[in-house]
């Protein structure tokens, strides 16, 4: 008998009985839920109550030591000195050619203690960057369990569960708390564009955390969500994702497929005022050069069909393609993230999108007019309030 290939997260015993569809998918060697019952209902819970998404498979790196901040500044494109202890921030990081490797969040627990969270393995890259520095870098992925609580009722849930610090926790804030003998870290971060928190505990405390939260939720309940519902929310929020909007530069062979942060709308996240960091030189040349070839944009399209994998035309010329597309339940329209050649990436530009779909089994194509709009499709005040 072949053993199961995928590992189970510490929340698996809680989540498996609730997964009525039994639909699981791979995420860094772990089984993660695709959908629990109905993605529409799961999505609705993100925007209307409180949801839980098991983010344990996310790679988590603990960074400690006298040179920890110096290491992080060599790595990332933003300046870690803009992130005080007790805060987090979002940042991309690049290779020497100024191509994006990944984006993720950095937690700053204290002057010299950090955690970096990302989707891909980065240990070798981090160790290479840390050369000569007095810093310890540990992959703590399997030691820390994490749950993303997203939705307008998430704050209320945390307070009722006894994490009263959530009341005053600001957007991208971080707090280390204690529930009886269980150390809990709460960050006001997420991937949904909604009010939300991520809760981090030791792996062995995962089940206890869930029970605690469930008891606090009482009859209101917590809706566990799968990746489909999350993807709808993240596209609405305009969050980019590795392997969707950009590939990992380290494993991409075709140079023209590698993306720069300028192309992905991340120029705000590059801080040239600080000293050298990986890719600084190349990024500076990009900045002073002719400008990015492609740009990340949002598209809105008529009809209900999502423009998945659509080629975008201006007249007969191919000027881009969509990277992710959904029908947005919040906006009540078809939207897509797309990479478009810079001259066509200005707001209001109309492009033709080749939308493929099947009627019965026949592959059909309809050409829809796609209008370029900002890729942050929604901006919910409660996200930051």
């Amino acid at each position: 008998m072949i053993e199961p290939i995928l590992q189970k997260t510490p929340f698996h015993e809680i989540l498996a009985p609730r997964n009525h569809t039994e639909e699981w998918e791979r995420w860094q060697g772990y089984a993660t839920a695709t959908r629990f019952y109905n993605e529409g209902q799961e999505y609705a819970a993100i925007r209307n109550s409180v949801t839980a998404y098991d983010i344990t498979p996310m790679l988590k790196y603990r960074i400690e030591g006298p040179d920890a901040a110096r290491f992080i500044n060599r790595l990332i494109t933003r300046d870690i000195e803009r992130c005080r202890p007790g805060r987090c921030f979002y940042t991309p990081w690049c290779n020497g050619a100024g191509h994006i490797i990944e984006d993720g969040t950095v937690f700053r627990f204290s002057e010299n203690e950090f955690q970096i969270n990302c989707a891909e393995h980065n240990l070798t890259w981090f160790l290479g960057t840390a050369e000569g520095l007095d810093v310890r870098i540990d992959d703590v992925t399997d030691r820390i369990a994490a749950l993303s609580l997203q939705g307008p009722l998430s704050r209320d849930l945390l307070i009722r569960a006894g994490i009263t610090e959530a009341r005053d926790l600001r957007y991208f804030g971080l707090v280390q708390s204690q529930l009886q003998d269980m150390p809990v870290t709460v960050t006001r971060t997420g991937f949904t564009g909604d009010l939300g928190y991520e809760v981090w505990v030791r792996s062995e405390d995962a089940v206890a955390l869930w029970e605690r939260l469930e008891a606090a939720a009482d009859s209101r309940g917590i809706t566990p969500i799968g990746s489909i519902a999350l993807n709808i929310a993240r596209i609405e929020a305009g969050h980019i994702q590795v392997h969707s909007e950009y590939p990992d530069a380290r494993t991409t062979v075709d140079l023209s497929e590698k993306r720069s942060p300028f192309e992905l709308g991340l120029s705000w996240a590059i801080d040239f005022r600080k000293d050298h960091f990986n890719g600084r030189r190349a990024l500076l040349a990009q900045k002073e050069g002719v400008g990015p070839r492609l740009r990340l944009v949002g598209l809105e399209l008529p009809g209900r069909r999502p423009a998945v994998d659509s080629v975008l035309y201006s007249g007969k010329r191919v000027v881009g393609e969509t990277t992710a597309a959904i029908w947005s339940p919040l906006l009540k329209k078809s939207i897509a993230l797309a990479l478009v050649e810079a001259p066509w990436a200005t707001h209001g530009t109309k492009l033709q999108a080749e939308v493929h779909f099947r009627r019965e089994l026949r592959l059909q194509r309809s050409d829809e007019v796609a209008r370029v709009i900002p890729h942050r499709f929604i901006d919910l005040p409660r996200r930051q309030a």
Binding site: R70, R74, L75, N95, G96, A97, W125, G128, T129, E131, G132, L133, D275, H276, N278, G279, R280, R281, L284, A285
Partner: protein, 526 residues
């Protein structure tokens, strides 16, 4: 602490450093060369092994000096020309006999006939083919390697020119070159010849100074690399009438002085100062600093980019690439001061003579097996020269100096170089009875000693192995083959850059040209 200002600082006074410095100074730049040793010249300089006995420190077979360097530095005025006489090689065989490889193919073939009629017949065509391939490669060796950037016109032109230099020689030759260049030299030779002696001698030429054995892949390439460097394109033979060839370092030192280059010896550089991605100068070991917007490093790329420049200023992937450069030296060197000329066969020749002990491919490959595992080699292959034959001033009248390259010697702490010296003495004694008694002084260096003495990491002649994956556009590392390090104002000019080692000055002249072009364009080094 003292502080001074220059237009350019050159770290290391090897021949390439001197060429680069002189070229820059001739364009009006105020240049200082900082040499850690007490004497400039690096591996190409001479040293006194015994009172009155002068030996080339490391490079005892001189390839043709770069013609552009000779022209642009007016080295002719100081007696240095790019002319060269091809060496005659005497392969000493275990039975006491020998086989001589003359520059002239028919002469070689005549000698070969005693060993094998078919080899004698094959030799002239083979030599012609090797030379044609070396000619095809030569344009790649002389010029700056282009970048793989098709949007830059100048670059595209360079790529096209190089492609054409190979293609214009005809489809047949191009096909043949592409086929043989990745082969092991052993496979190529065994396909053509049956005489061990001729195969052993050529096999040694293919691997000497590299971390390869004759059965390693693409050692045909290393052989062609060596041939292309040794024979200047269309060069006239130097006058055969005993006219001594000027030592490049002496000529370079005079040319440098005339151009106004300041040379400081005993001046070790501790670090290259970088601020906001731009070179600001250097800090010396004595704590003093020199401000300069341009620093040209004649040190090897690994030392330059991992020791002299702080890791803070370089991208992690660049540093990783630099650290991955294979630069383990495998060649030993033994120098002798001799009371009289050893009794080695001396065929009449118009040019320099050398003797090799490499009687077969298997002999060289077995020697390589030892060094592959870090062991001393009980029976190494040797390349022997007697520099005082060409230049009697090197030793008192009637006496001589001998320089021996030893393939191989391991880069290892436990290696006993003097033991190697004894082995070499005994080996030569077998071919030149009485030799051991004539030795007045012997000095033997393994790669560790060479590393310490010349500041070349790994003790590797070429500052990084010669191999197809460390050559041309990817030398020293991919994307940085144009003599520019990824710090504004920092340049590399040593053997670790394209086209590798050998006392040609090509690296130095190309690096200086890169500096001058960037200055002209007011452009950041790309």
């Amino acid at each position: 602490m003292t502080n001074s200002k220059r237009d350019a600082v050159v770290i290391g006074g090897g021949h390439n450093g001197l060429v680069a410095a002189t070229r820059m100074a001739r364009s009006g730049m105020h240049v200082v060369v900082l040499e850690a040793n007490e004497q400039a010249g690096g591996a190409a300089r001479g040293y006194e092994i015994h009172p009155g006995f002068h030996l080339p420190a490391l490079a005892h077979m001189l390839p043709a000096f770069d013609r552009r360097a000779v022209r642009e530095l007016k080295l002719g005025r100081y007696g240095l020309k790019s002319d060269i006489n091809e060496a005659t090689t005497v392969s000493l065989l275990p039975d006491g006999g020998n086989l001589t490889l003359h520059p002239d193919a028919d002469k070689t073939a005549a000698g070969l006939r005693a060993h094998s009629a078919s080899d004698a017949e094959a030799w002239p065509a083979f030599q012609q083919q090797l030379r044609a391939h070396a000619d095809a490669l030569r344009p790649l060796l002389a010029s700056e390697a282009p970048r793989l950037d098709f949007s830059d016109r100048r670059n595209l032109f360079a790529l096209g020119r190089l492609g054409w230099s190979i293609r214009r020689r005809g489809r047949q030759q191009m096909r043949d070159l592409l086929q043989v260049i990745t082969m092991s030299v052993a496979d190529l030779l065994e396909d053509r010849f049956e005489t061990d002696a001729i195969m052993g001698a050529l096999a040694l030429d293919a691997v000497l100074g590299t971390d390869h054995g004759p059965r390693s892949p693409h050692t045909v390439f290393t052989l062609l690399h060596r041939l292309a460097g040794q024979l200047a394109p269309g060069s006239r033979p130097a006058p055969a009438t005993g006219g001594t060839r000027r030592q490049p370092v002496e000529a370079l030192l005079e040319a440098a002085a005339a151009a106004g280059v300041e040379i400081r010896t005993g001046a070790a550089v501790k670090s290259i100062r970088v601020e906001a991605g731009a070179t600001r100068g250097v800090e010396l070991a004595d704590g003093s600093t020199i401000d300069s917007p341009v620093v040209v490093s004649n040190a090897d790329p690994v030392t330059t980019c991992t020791e002299l420049v702080d890791a803070d200023h370089l991208d992690a992937d660049f540093r990783r690439e630099v650290r991955a450069i294979r630069n383990k030296g495998t060649t030993g060197k033994v120098g002798f001061a001799l009371d009289r000329l050893p009794d080695l066969p001396q065929p009449a020749s118009g040019g320099p003579l050398r003797w090799v002990i490499a009687p077969s491919i298997g002999y060289v490959e077995r020697a390589f097996d030892h060094v592959k595992y870090g062991e001393a080699v009980p029976e190494p292959a040797l390349e022997i020269t007697i520099p005082s034959l060409d230049d009697p001033d090197r030793a008192p009248s009637g006496q001589h100096v001998m320089s021996v390259n030893v393939a191989y010697a391991p880069y290892s702490d436990s290696f006993d170089a003097d033991e190697m010296g004894k082995t070499v003495t005994a080996m030569i004694e077998r071919h030149a009875p009485g030799f051991a008694q004539t030795v007045l002084k012997r000095e033997a260096w393994g790669p560790r000693e060479i590393e310490a003495r010349f500041g070349m990491r790994g003790g590797h002649w070429h500052h990084g192995d010669i191999a197809l994956d460390q050559f041309f556009m990817v030398r020293p590392v991919p994307g940085f083959a144009q003599y520019r390090a990824p710090v504004e104002g920092l340049y590399l000019c040593g053997a670790g850059t394209h086209p590798g080692g050998g006392v040609t000055g090509t690296n130095g002249i190309n690096a200086a040209r890169a500096v001058l072009r960037d200055r002209r364009n007011g452009r950041r080094a790309a």
